[in-house]
């Protein structure tokens, strides 16, 4: 824990952050999105991106069977493709995932704290977190209290993240800012710093359950926050865009951003993740294209 700030100090710091130049941010993101990636680099980028995926299923209709199928795919996505970073499930499925992934090196991530809205009492959210960790989750994806954040009660948001972090124990904590509900870039910047000062190991854009999910500009902004945070405190925090990243082209744009904004220190599954499900199939199809020389199709990857 590199932060030495109290809640009040962190809130004061978050409030003192300069506003975001939205036009400049979007132009920068668009510029980084136009890089042309040539074949060899693309092959490397595809494998790196596969290794960074938090393969996710967060549906009411999730069954143990479906989770086990997903885990099998996570461990061995396709031929000699590398395994993904983690499987992300609801707390009720964490034990099933932990059993299926035992010894594989693929982590179990569980959403918690009343995902996706988080609109339940704090003790329920903490119990949710403890249950997920007890069920074998190596990583916990929590949602921030957007209600409190938007009402201006930043200190409460900070304290709650602290409490969840304590409940996580050894598990790494990813803090979902739900940028689609924070409305402005300024809010995203404040929430990023607040979460990092409160002890987040990762900051994550979205739940994937609202209209606006991860976008390149918002992720770029969070990367800048992470970079500034390490420069100020020496603590490295990971970034996880989630929701709406479906194509290899999108994924590579994010990797370009990581490389340009954060540098090689973050170009590893330990520090950068994609929260996605259908992205994996597109990466695998592109991978097959590079191997076989012809375009692949959905008949040649699994139906999830």
């Amino acid at each position: 824990m590199g932060s030495i700030l109290s809640g009040a100090e962190a809130v004061a710091f978050a409030r003192s952050l300069p506003g975001v130049d939205a036009v400049g941010l979007e132009a920068r993101a668009a510029g980084l999105g136009t890089r042309s990636i040539k074949k060899e680099s693309k092959a490397h980028a595809i494998d790196l991106a596969i290794g960074m995926i938090d393969l996710t299923t967060l549906e009411g209709a999730d069954t143990p069977g479906k989770v086990r199928t997903l885990c099998a795919k996570a461990v061995r996505p396709d031929g000699d493709a590398p395994p993904v970073a983690a499987v992300c499930v609801y707390p009720a499925m964490a034990a099933t995932a932990a059993e299926a992934l035992k010894g594989s090196g693929v982590k179990v991530a569980s959403v918690a704290t009343g995902f996706p809205a988080g609109q339940v009492p704090l003790d329920v959210r903490l119990a949710d977190t403890e249950a997920a960790v007890a069920a074998g989750a190596d990583e916990v994806d929590m949602v921030v209290n957007r209600g409190a954040f938007l009402a201006g009660d930043l200190e409460r948001v900070f304290d709650e993240i602290r409490a969840v972090k304590a409940a996580c124990g050894e598990a790494r904590l990813k803090v979902i800012l739900e940028t689609g509900e924070l409305v402005t870039y300024d809010n995203v910047r404040r929430a990023s710093h607040l979460a990092m000062h409160a002890g987040a190991d990762f900051i994550k854009t979205s739940t994937g359950k609202v209209g606006v999910n991860a976008t390149l500009p918002v992720t770029l902004l969070m990367m800048q926050a992470v970079r500034d945070f390490r420069a100020a405190t020496g603590v490295q925090v990971g970034v996880k865009p989630a929701g709406g990243i479906r194509t290899t082209k999108d994924a590579i744009k994010y990797l370009v951003c990581v490389n340009e904004v954060l540098g090689e220190d973050w170009l590893s599954p330990h520090w950068f993740r994609f929260g996605a499900s259908s992205l994996l199939n597109d990466l695998l199809m592109q991978r097959q294209k590079l191997t076989t020389g012809h375009y692949s199709g959905p008949d040649y990857v699994t139906v999830d």
Binding site: Q288, H294, Y295, S296, G297, P298, D299, Y300
Partner: protein, 307 residues
């Protein structure tokens, strides 16, 4: 313009108004119900048989072909899920649209092929009739090709033709409109979607035909038309794993046709060889596969069936 720049203007006689400049059509691709330019930004000059330049057409790249396959794949399931009756109505509507613009198509066809205007009009009318013909097939295919099979057991067994999926069509080179209609109509009649490479040297009637399709309630992506080099685009379609059938009718080069057929075999595609003849039913039959279902007859008997 000032008076000085027009020294030839004389007396009080007013200069004749300049002839109106014709608004020329920019021929583009037809992909996913939209008319995009080629992703590559390229185009090529299309000339008539006498060498006169007619227009520029978009020169499609392999990425356009890929996008077209993606559009066709996206459109396939909903299109196959429509009732056969509706598919027939839409094809009939396309015939209506073509009929209404027969004059324009006859002119375009005459320019493209050098045919006599009267003969060109006859070809357009034949294309209209062909569309009506295949519109009729949509709701008859299942009864003609499928049926109930007698089996030695307590089962009701029946076979049903189903669309293959996405079919890539290399349209005939010398017959840019009728040949194209003849190749595409049987593909889409049964619920397949098509990615069509138009005649390389005479693509303009085909690209105008896209406007007919676009105004016939045909869902975007069911037929996608590309203009460009067959040798450049067709190999990517033949090897594309998300394409289920290939019509090589318009591939003139035998070596290329053999190469394409070999590539198609890599992903087990149905192939129609250049010069393959047959009736309209043969053409329809080529782009379907069969599903046979065994129903325990007890269930059928329970609801009043007597098997």
């Amino acid at each position: 313009m000032s008076e000085q720049s027009k020294p030839k203007r004389t007396g009080s006689k007013r200069a004749a108004a300049p002839a109106r400049l014709r608004v020329k059509k920019t021929y583009k691709l037809y992909v996913g119900g939209k008319f995009p330019r080629s992703e590559s930004g390229r185009s090529y000059a299309v000339t008539g048989p006498d060498g006169a330049e007619l227009a520029n057409a978009a020169l499609a790249s392999r990425k356009d072909a890929r996008d077209a396959v993606a559009a066709a794949r996206k459109a396939q399931r909903p299109w196959a899920g429509q009732t056969a009756y509706l598919r027939g109505q839409i094809l009939y509507r396309a015939a209506e649209m073509l009929e209404g613009r027969a004059g324009q198509f006859a002119e375009e066809l005459a320019e493209a092929t050098g045919a006599e205007p009267h003969a060109a009009l006859g070809t357009v009318e034949a294309a209209v009739d062909r569309l009506v013909h295949y519109a009729g097939w949509t709701d008859k295919v299942a009864s003609v090709l499928g049926g109930a099979n007698p089996v030695a057991g307590p089962y009701f067994n029946h076979t049903k033709p189903e669309p293959l999926g996405v079919v890539a069509v290399v349209a005939p080179q010398d017959d840019p409109l009728l040949g194209l209609v003849e190749a595409v109509a049987p593909v889409v009649a049964t619920g397949n979607t098509a990615v069509v490479v138009a005649s390389e040297d005479r693509p303009l009637p085909a690209m105008s035909f896209a406007e007919v399709l676009a105004t016939s309630d045909l869902p975007g992506g069911v037929v996608n038309l590309l203009s460009g080099k067959v040798a450049e685009i067709a190999p990517h379609l033949a090897s594309h794993a998300d394409v289920n059938g290939v019509d090589l009718g318009g591939v003139g080069d035998e070596a290329l046709a053999a190469e394409l057929e070999a590539a198609a075999a890599g992903t087990l595609k149905v192939v129609r060889r250049p010069g393959a003849g047959g009736s309209s039913l043969d053409r329809v039959r080529r782009w379907v596969e069969y599903k046979t279902v065994w129903h325990p007859a007890g269930m059928a008997a329970g609801v009043g069936g007597g098997y």
